[in-house]
Amino acid sequence: MTENKRLTWVRRNYLSVIFSAVGSVVILFLVVALFNMLIQQVLTDPGNLIEVMFDEEVLKSVTLTLYASFLSTMIAVIFGTPLAYVLSRHKFPAKSFIESIIDVPVIIPHSVAGIALYALLMRRGPVGSFMERIGVVFEESLWGIVAAMFFVSVSLYLNAAREGFQSIDPRLEYVARSLGAGPIRTFFSISLPLAIRHLFSGAIMAWARGISEFGAIIFIAFYPMVAPTLIYYRFTLYGLGGSRPVAVFLMLICFVIFVVLRMMSRRWGGSHR
């Protein structure tokens, strides 16, 4: 572009130029916040970051976090996919009520969610006491963590999945039915493959949300410590210097994993749509 052309472009699109300038504050804040932490750590105390990577307690808590959130996401997929499909395809009296229920975990404070879950799932709680009899304990256990993660992340999966199913023209399903496929066959060979990218990216979002959860988890399962809990715990004991390397480490792991997953989901069936 010549100087003149560029100037003309700016004049014609000055609103977008102003908006970009205003909007860049958002990006700046996010990037600076994360990079500041990373750079502080690398410049002032690189040794501690390396040390943390071999710290058994840290590795254990990171693994636990990833695993628990994975379980929670799987449960969301198994129970949420059918619900999302029904919501995307049918009208029924309680539909808008159900849709608002789905969004509740997003708007209530996570400490509230934590209290609610504790009251329900503790050993003396209505569901907790029953589950204990069949050998599932939530208090201070993996299952407590999974339950808390599920509570705060399932709406993300549901909404993405519902949107995915809604984006499929019902006529494709009609045609499949007319060709002799029953409802189940139609779902698995038409609706599911066509929505799979939405489902996958919804699952990634839910998984990420689970990994980041702290507030709801500590009420029901402070131990075993997930990574966010460990970071908080070390912060209260050792301050910034003790907790920051763990935070940086967790951030790097999440970043790498999500980049890989995003790339996978883009490659997946992107060519023919």
Binding site: D169, R171, L172, V175, A176, S178, L179, G180, S271, H272
Partner: protein
């Protein structure tokens, strides 16, 4: 070869919030090519979906091949369905799309291969077998959709505006193709369209549906020459449709003998029996013969003047119908019995072969 079937609708009623189909009865004969004709939003697609079983009617019965299927799910009806927007499965290749119905039926793989090949030959898409739908043109996609519907050997074939989304040239090709396929397979077919020309050229019989009601059913000749009521006439009668034969052909410019009229037209068709279509708004009415480039000028007496709001429809004793503005009708002081001239250009005449 699929069993040839009849389709019977008995007082079918289906009520939606903003639209309804009321009391539609219909009998389509075995092997017939039946066209459901009506303006956009008249309930044609919905009626087709009811026959396919995508919806269940509130009242009435649907009988396919002598069996009451009113409450039978679509997968048990053996009905081939083709939508205007093709509705191909985007995650499957052409071949997989065509094979879908056969795979569902658990046919042996070599049998599926054979039938898919036969079907793709029939609609001439063999060279596309490994392509994905998004890489195909509209005409190609519609051929795939037709092949997919025919592959299951359907008892009836339902076509929902199958030609409307195509460009004019492709539309003509595919229209001929539909005719050829119907002659080859003889499947009972209902074809939905809002295009009168399409209806006349393809239909054994036409059902006229307006606002969810079946207004009239009959052969193309019957419908267009004797519309049952004003509603029907309004929809059907706005077109000049004449039968004729090509008498003279001078390199694309032809002279067609249609009743008492000798019509000049431009067409690729060289000889034979034809239909002639002239849009009424292409016809100019004047008191004196016009000095213009119009090749066709006919004198006639006004036998009908119909007020259509801002427009006036003028019918002459030579069979031509014109639409002119209210203003020009008043300026010329037109009244019944007046002698006037009707002129139109050779390029405004649409010619189609009439062969059945």
């Amino acid at each position: 070869m699929g069993r040839v079937a009849s389709i019977i609708l008995e007082n079918v009623t289906y009520i939606l919030e903003d639209f309804s189909i009321r009391n539609v009865s219909l009998k389509v004969r075995e092997g017939e090519y039946f066209v459901l004709l009506g303006p956009t939003g008249s309930g044609k697609t919905l009626l087709l979906e009811l026959i396919a079983g995508f919806h269940v009617p509130d009242e009435g019965r649907i009988i396919l091949n002598g069996v009451d299927v009113t409450y039978t799910p679509p997968e048990k009806r053996n009905v081939g369905f083709v939508y205007q927007d093709y509705s191909l499965f985007p995650h499957m290749t052409v071949e997989e799309n065509v094979a879908f119905g056969l795979r569902v039926r658990r046919l042996p793989e070599n049998e599926i291969k054979r039938q898919v090949k036969e079907m793709m030959n029939l609609v001439r898409i063999s060279h596309l077998s490994n392509r994905y739908p998004s890489t195909l043109s509209g005409g190609e996609q519609q051929r795939v959709a037709i092949a997919r519907a025919l592959a299951i050997n359907p008892d009836v074939l339902l076509l929902d505006e199958p030609l409307s989304a195509l460009d004019p040239g492709t539309r003509e090709d595919l229209r001929e193709e539909l005719k050829r396929i119907h002659e080859a397979r003889n499947v009972t077919t209902i074809h939905v369209t809002h295009d009168r020309v399409e209806a006349i050229l393809l239909a054994d019989r036409i059902g006229l549906i307006i606002n969810g009601e079946m207004i009239q059913v009959g052969s193309p000749e019957e419908l267009f020459s004797k519309p049952l009521n004003e509603k029907a006439a309004r929809f059907l009668g706005v077109e000049n449709i004449l039968q004729g034969r090509i008498r003279l052909n001078r390199g694309g410019m032809v002279v067609i003998e249609a009743g008492d009229l000798e019509i000049h037209a431009i067409t690729k068709i060289e000889e034979g029996e034809v239909y002639v279509f002239i849009r009424p708004e292409s016809i100019i009415i004047s008191r004196k013969p016009l000095r213009s480039s119009a090749r066709n000028i006919f004198q006639g007496r006004i036998v009908e003047l119909t007020n259509l709001g801002p427009l006036v429809s003028v019918k002459l004793d030579n069979g031509l119908k014109a639409l002119i503005t209210r203003q020009s009708a008043e300026d010329m002081r037109l009244k019944l019995g007046d002698m006037v001239y009707a002129s139109f250009k050779a390029a405004s005449v649409h010619v189609s072969r009439r062969a059945r």
